[in-house]
């Protein structure tokens, strides 16, 4: 009810604005989530764009902090038909949804041949719906394995390639260290988007998917159940701590950063924090691809990140596309990678000498990014995700058998998807 009032209120407010300021300088509005810390490189890039376009002013406006709130902000404003912004930062999982809703400008006609070639293929795949391109990849993430190089070295172990190996190493190291506060493998199983990401990675490692190309949910339910059962086993057997079902990225990152765990699944941003001057694990952390299952495909991390889209209702679509192009250019992405712990979507930057000097992990990250896989690219992604979250969570805390959770999730999803046809 209160949300509805908010919608109403926003509609009233936005109806009042919109006077004709056509003759003066053109103003573009760029919506993005501020980058924390003293060195947000974006404002300077916007000034640079203004310098190159004398009659254009660009206003950077902050989005709310959490992804949930950002999505809500966009839904309210874009559905209200008077968005008041031109270029917008999008979580990669929203692109097909927003495209399908008719909120994004189709960028395909203006693209030069080969313009998307320098980007990681998975980021381009995530920006594409029905063969059209709706956004430009801006920054990127991939799930990877952090390990305590010092501990592995002490016991003569190499980073694990399979989960069985990982489990054995955890047992061995914890037996040797005799430190009850040292946990094994940390990952994210709180009931939120991160849980879906972690489960998807287990699905892929077991050779299956959540959504097949033809739209079938859980195309191989047996394999999916196996993967879920395996994840539950990690917690039940103590390889992962009992609090894993409450862990999000930050909770697990801090525990590992305090030196309380051997392995951690997380995103690349954590490396900067582990290497910070006052970090207890500084210089003792290595990165590796996520483990796979014995005899299965190699482990692949899920990709994430942000894309830049242009509002279909922008009054200056060409300029807005120019701005999105500029912000995703090699130069701009390099400046962002230097100023913040965000990783570029252009492959060449991972071997850029100037960048590698301040971000030495980039070359190793390159292979991981390349191997990364997208979450299902579908306009219904959030419906899919928020339906499976409680089911997966129920398996991981041991309340539901995997096969039943999968059956229940299927039933609910088909109810909603049928209504959409």
């Amino acid at each position: 009810m209160r949300r509805l009032l908010l919608v109403l209120w926003v509609a009233v407010l936005s109806g009042c604005g919109g006077s004709a300021l056509e003759r003066g300088p053109v103003t573009l509005v760029f919506k993005y989530a501020r980058i924390l810390g003293p060195a947000d490189p974006v404002p300077e890039l916007l000034r640079e764009f203004e310098a190159a376009h004398p009659n254009v002013r660009v206003r950077g406006e902050a989005l709310p902090w959490t992804s949930d709130e950002q999505h809500q902000f966009y839904v309210i404003n874009l559905e209200g038909r008077s968005p008041g912004f031109d270029v917008m930062m999008l979580d990669v999982i929203w692109v097909p949804e927003f495209a399908r809703a008719g909120w994004l400008l189709d960028l395909t006609p203006g693209l030069h041949p080969g313009e998307l070639a320098p980007y990681f293929p998975s980021t381009v795949e995530a920006a594409t719906d029905h063969g059209r391109v709706w956004a430009l990849p801006w920054n990127m993430n991939v799930g990877l394995l952090y390990y305590r190089a010092d501990l592995l070295g002490k016991y003569g172990l190499a980073p694990p390639e399979t989960f069985d190996e990982l489990a054995r190493q955890v047992v061995r190291i914890r037996a040797g260290e005799r430190d009850p506060a040292l946990d094994g493998y940390l990952w994210q199983a709180k009931q939120y988007e991160g849980l879906v990401v972690n489960v998807l990675e287990a699905f892929w490692a077991n050779g299956t998917r959540l959504l097949a190309d033809d739209g079938t949910l859980f195309p191989e339910p047996g394999r999916a159940a196996e993967a879920l059962g395996f994840l539950r086993g990690l917690i039940a057997s103590g390889v992962s701590p009992a609090w894993t079902p409450a862990a999000d990225e930050e909770l697990s990152r801090r525990a590992f950063g305090d030196g309380r765990a051997v392995f951690l699944r997380n995103w690349p941003y954590a490396m900067d924090l582990f290497q910070a001057r006052d970090s207890p694990v500084r210089g003792r952390v290595g990165i590796a691809p996520l483990p796979g299952f014995a005899g299965g495909p190699r482990g692949a991390g899920s990709t994430g990140g942000a894309h830049l889209g242009v509002s279909r209702r922008s009054r200056h679509p060409e300029l807005a596309v120019d701005l999105a192009r500029f912000l995703t250019s090699e130069r701009a992405q390099k400046a962002i990678a230097l100023g913040a712990a965000l990783s570029p979507t252009r492959e060449v930057l991972y071997h850029d000498p100037g960048l590698v000097r301040s971000r030495p992990e980039l070359p190793a990250l390159h292979a991981l990014m390349r191997a990364g896989r997208s979450r299902p690219v579908t306009p219904y992604y959030l419906l899919l995700s928020s339906t499976v979250q409680p089911e997966f969570s129920a398996v991981l805390v041991g309340l539901k058998a995997p096969a039943r959770a999968i059956g229940d999730a299927r039933l609910r999803l088909s109810h909603f998807l049928d209504a959409l046809r």
């Binding site: 009810m1 949300r3 509805l4 009032l5 109403l8 949930d68 999505h71 809500q72 839904v75 559905e79 949804e97 399908r100 809703a101 008719g102 909120w103 009850p180 506060a181 946990d183 199983a189 709180k190 009931q191 939120y192 701590p241 009992a242 609090w243 894993t244 079902p245 409450a246 862990a247 909770l251 801090r254 525990a255 305090d258 309380r260 306009p379 959030l382 419906l383 995700s385 928020s386 339906t387 979250q389 409680p390 969570s393 129920a394 991981l396 805390v397 309340l399 539901k400 229940d408 609910r412 109810h415 909603f416 209504a419 959409l420």
Partner: protein, 290 residues
């Protein structure tokens, strides 16, 4: 009807008009709109809009996630409100008797109440932190898996809510206690009533109505509780802390099922109205109370 009363009535209506218009525009209209939405399959961004009759409610009736959310809402409301009332009255009684440190106590109570619930939730996220949280450190490391155990998560959320909302009850009751005339206690003393008898026969009956009022406010708030579990657990683990409003929010703003989400909102609305109606009947003045 005389001319004067008619004029008075017209003036009263005129004075009430702005309130009525505002209430209609801001409450009645969106309220009716939500009811209308709940009768549709509606996913506006994908262009789905068709009348569905009672389909959404029929699905709710067999939707395990809805029933789980309803049970969670009921448990959360009953337990958190009961604890808040018990503790609130106890704290108010203690404060009223206390001379030293009373102002400090009042300020601390206000502080907890004044904190936005998102901040409270974040605070408790740290207190409940499995390895570094104050609570577990005090209990011994790795003691309790507060937010990751499906049996403990709801109690943990309730505890955070009690901490935040108990002061509201305490302050209301404290204010009422201050207005009880000292003669009543003197009379009780003269009649030879002991401390317990004074509490049971004088203080508590006089507190009755204010407690009922606090009960009304707190129940309505608890039925609509959202922020604290949304931030603390996101409704997990396994949906054990997902209340009806959290489910409605997810359906509306993440799954974008406006019709279905509105159906859940309508249920919450009916629950709140039902509770309000029941309490208001209880509150209706019967005999004269001091």
């Amino acid at each position: 009807m005389t001319g004067r009363t008619r004029a008075a009535r017209r003036q009263a209506l005129l004075l009430l008009a702005p309130t009525l218009v505002a209430l209609t525009a801001l409450t009645v209209y969106p309220g009716c709109w939500v009811v209308w939405l709940s009768l549709q399959h509606r996913v506006p961004i994908f262009g789905v809009a068709r009348f569905a009759g009672l389909d959404n409610f029929a699905f709710l009736a067999v939707d395990p996630r809805f029933w789980s959310a309803a049970r969670t809402t009921a448990a959360f409301t009953a337990l958190s409100v009961a604890l808040e009332l018990l503790l609130g009255v106890a704290v108010a009684l203690a404060l009223a008797r206390q001379e030293r440190g009373r102002r400090l106590g009042l300020s601390l109570l206000l502080l907890a109440w004044a904190m936005p619930s998102v901040v409270t939730a974040k605070l408790y996220e740290w207190l409940y932190h499995p390895t570094a949280g104050l609570i577990n450190v005090l209990l011994g490391a790795h003691a309790i898996n507060w937010l990751g155990d499906p049996r403990l998560a709801l109690p943990a959320v309730i505890l955070a809510d009690v901490w935040r909302s108990m002061p509201f009850v305490a302050l209301l009751c404290y204010a009422r206690l201050r207005t009880i005339p000292a003669e009543l206690y003197e009379a009780a003393q003269v009649d030879g009533a002991g401390r317990l008898a004074t509490l049971g026969r004088v203080t508590l009956p006089l507190l009755g109505r204010i407690v009922l009022l606090a009960l009304l406010f707190r129940t309505l708030d608890a039925l609509r509780a959202f922020d604290i579990m949304f931030v603390l657990t996101g409704g997990g683990p396994a949906g054990t802390t997902e209340t009806l409003t959290v489910y409605a929010y997810r359906s509306l703003f993440q799954m974008l099922q406006l019709g279905f989400g509105s159906a859940i909102s309508v249920v919450v609305f009916a629950l709140v109205m039902g509770a309000a109606w029941a309490y208001l009947r209880l509150l209706r003045p019967r005999a004269v109370v001091a």
